[in-house]
């Protein structure tokens, strides 16, 4: 009967058959580190990586300050400590690619070029906000930059990322759909269905799991049978790579390689980035549930000082230049936040029907 299907769909050289190929999965790359095949980064790019991590860090620190000033409302989920993933992965993506993430997505959006002032304006609930103040911290979306959206529901954004991947495959222009999510998300149904569909249809999707060891206040070992989430990818015969999420260049190379495969039609990749969040889950969380020794060990592996030291050691950056970058970032976020704080509130009388229906 497969034969008859083939003839039937011959005209369209049925990609359905390609799906069938998925039975024989591409030789799994499960393993540590990245593939040296990816061309080395030039100085400009490496400095840009450092600068981006610094910007994300300072952006989040400013969010914290603004929060205490009463400018940010409700809750926020900051990513200090995980900047290496956002900066590294995004550098490997191209214009025209699709990127999605979660409520902890400020970093991914910044790395993708989201403007700080509109971001703060959104956090402050202002009319000039990225989403006109309708979404807030958990729903940054900037379609013009391929930032297709954040999931406030754990795992909820993965199916849409798969849809964007199908969109990319149908377009045939070599786009990819990259989606960022956490370790706690791998236990929910939406993750499973998304992984399976992406693999069976060999979609150009890059699943980037930021394994920071905790889902809210609960450590991974209480919710998942292992701490290495590449293990989970085996259940989909999906190429899976584990990388040090605090090594920004390793994340870049691994993502670049996955993107190459995806653009070449070789299907999805699951990337596990080992990382850690410095702060609590959300602004009200003092993160008392973590072993102080564990926290200490990870703070010592902060991706920013580590990369700074590396660049300085290699003579690509002086401490002075690094300081200046930090100062500039501090000034930039401060200025952006100040301008945003001066922005007008949205008008409750505006026409919301236009926001609802196209």
């Amino acid at each position: 009967m497969k034969a008859s299907r083939r003839s039937k769909a011959a005209a369209k050289k049925a990609p359905r058959e390609q799906a069938a190929k998925a039975q024989a999965p591409a030789g799994s790359l499960v393993g540590k580190g990245h593939n040296r095949a990816v061309p080395p980064l030039d100085k400009a790019k490496r400095l840009a990586l450092f600068e981006m991590m610094v910007k994300i860090r300072e952006f989040e620190e400013q969010v914290q300050r603004s929060y205490l000033e009463g400018l940010v409302h409700g809750t926020t989920h900051l990513c200090q400590g995980q900047e290496g993933v956002a900066a590294g992965a995004n550098l490997a993506l191209a214009d025209g690619d699709y990127v999605s993430y979660t409520y902890r997505g400020h970093g991914h959006c910044l790395a993708r070029g989201m403007e700080m002032e509109t971001a703060y304006a959104e956090l402050f609930g202002r009319a000039t906000g990225l989403c006109n103040g309708l979404g807030g911290s958990m729903h940054f979306t900037d379609i013009a930059k391929g930032l297709i959206g954040a999931a406030g529901i754990v795992g909820g954004g993965l199916p849409a990322a798969v849809g964007a991947g199908l969109s990319a495959q149908l377009n045939g222009r070599g786009q990819v759909s990259a989606v960022f999510f956490g370790d706690g998300s791998v236990n929910i149904g939406a993750f499973h269905e998304s992984m399976n569909i992406a693999q069976v249809w060999r979609l150009p999707v890059i699943f980037i799991c930021e394994n920071n060891l905790y889902g809210e206040f609960t450590r991974i070992n209480f919710t998942t049978p292992f701490e290495d989430l590449t293990e989970r990818a085996k259940g989909y015969a999906m190429t899976a790579v584990q990388v040090d999420g605090n090594d920004v260049e390793a994340v870049y190379c691994t993502t670049a390689e996955a993107a190459e495969r995806a653009r070449a039609g070789d299907g999805p990749t699951f990337i596990e980035c080992k990382t850690y969040r410095h702060r609590g889950h959300s602004r009200t969380d003092p993160a008392k549930y973590r072993d102080p020794a564990e926290v200490e060990a990870w703070l010592a592996r902060d991706p920013i000082p580590a990369y700074r030291a590396k660049l300085v050691k290699e003579g690509l950056l002086t401490q002075k230049e690094a300081e200046r970058m930090v100062e500039e970032a501090k000034a930039e976020v401060k200025a952006a936040a100040d301008r945003a704080a001066a922005a007008p509130w949205p008008d409750p009388q505006q026409n919301f029907t236009a926001k609802m229906f196209a």
Binding site: P159, A160, V162, S167, E193, M356
Partner: protein, 326 residues
């Protein structure tokens, strides 16, 4: 206009085929809709014409492929998904309610979300408690969704075409007991049907009866019986549940002074309450008696034929309800 007499099922297929020819950005995903044409044959022939790229058998993963429709829609496509039994909408409720219905709003209106969700629901075929819901009220309180429920081949054809062309998410609730019903349809035409507003199917002066889906033919049958007794019931197909524009119902009740709603689900929390409430506020002084709601009892649709038959409002029961008001 040129029409052909075809079945509700054929009308669905025709609408899908014509719209997929009309716009290359459309595609359909669902279970067993490819070479097999769908368990209810509502996608017959589409795979042969459009191929796997646009007619996709999916894994059994409603959350996955319904959510994928959102990703496709905001990146330039116009996806259609088929939910085999409306009961399975429960499996992807989150993707529809928290995702598809809200994504445009949460973004501040940055893009359109042209997703069409077709779900085949309803009782009467002995499918039992987990395969017989119309799911009419599950999404009634969800802003952002448009919900329609075609009761005839012409409506199924015209409203599905409109849904596919619409730039917003539309949930099309079809009914499996109507799939083989026949009617005249302007196939091959551009004649779409509006996604809002009820339609008066039979005029009458004594009472207004508002029904949906498979309850519509039963209401019409009830009207026949009543006519034999000299009672003229005006039968209105509600057609659309969200948004709900009841103007024709208000006008009707102002003339008939009586309202009966008939829905294929429990009355508590059903759309009949919404219609009764709106009619009461819009035609308060014209009502001779309080609106009467007919629906299913407070338990799931049972499998056993005599039991299933007993829970579904019969033409006799509908006629009796009308008479009880006069």
């Amino acid at each position: 206009m040129q029409t052909q007499e075809i079945t509700y099922r054929e009308a669905v297929v025709a609408a899908l085929q014509e719209e997929m020819r009309r716009d290359p950005r459309t595609l359909i995903m669902g279970e067993d809709i490819g070479p097999s044409g769908g368990p209810f044959k509502t996608c017959q022939g589409l795979y042969e014409e459009f191929g796997h790229a646009r007619v996709r058998d999916t894994p059994i993963a409603e959350t996955g492929f319904v959510g994928a429709a959102l990703g496709l829609a905001i990146t330039g496509y116009r996806p259609i998904v088929e939910i085999m039994f409306a009961d399975f909408l429960g499996v992807c409720f989150d993707q529809i309610v928290n995702g598809i219905a809200k994504h445009r709003f949460m973004s501040g209106g940055q893009f359109a979300v042209p997703v069409t969700i077709r779900a085949i629901g309803g009782a009467g075929l002995r499918f039992g408690p987990q395969h017989s819901t119309t799911a009419e009220s599950w999404f009634m309180s969800v802003p952002g969704l448009k919900i329609v429920c075609p009761s005839t081949p012409a409506e199924a054809y015209g409203m599905l075409k409109s849904a596919i062309r619409d730039d917003d998410p539309v949930l099309v609730l079809e009914h499996k007991a109507l799939l083989s019903s026949k009617g005249h349809v302007p196939v091959g035409s551009d004649q779409t049907q509006p996604l809002t507003g009820p339609r008066v199917l039979r005029p009458g002066r004594d009472a207004t009866v508002v029904a949906s889906l498979a309850m519509v033919p039963r209401a019409l049958a009830a009207a026949e019986k009543l006519a034999a007794e000299g009672i003229e019931a005006e039968i209105i197909d509600i057609r659309a549940l969200r948004p709900m524009d009841l103007t024709p119902v208000f006008e009707s009740v102002r003339r008939t002074n009586n309202l009966v709603t008939v829905e294929e689900q429990a009355k508590l929390g059903g759309w009949g309450a919404e219609v009764a409430a709106q009619v009461t506020s819009e035609a308060f002084d014209h009502l001779d008696s309080p609106p009467l709601r007919v629906g299913l009892p407070e338990y799931p649709v049972p499998y056993s034929p005599p039991l299933e038959d007993s829970v579904l409002p019969s033409p006799e029961a509908i006629a009796a309800a009308v008479k009880s008001l006069l």
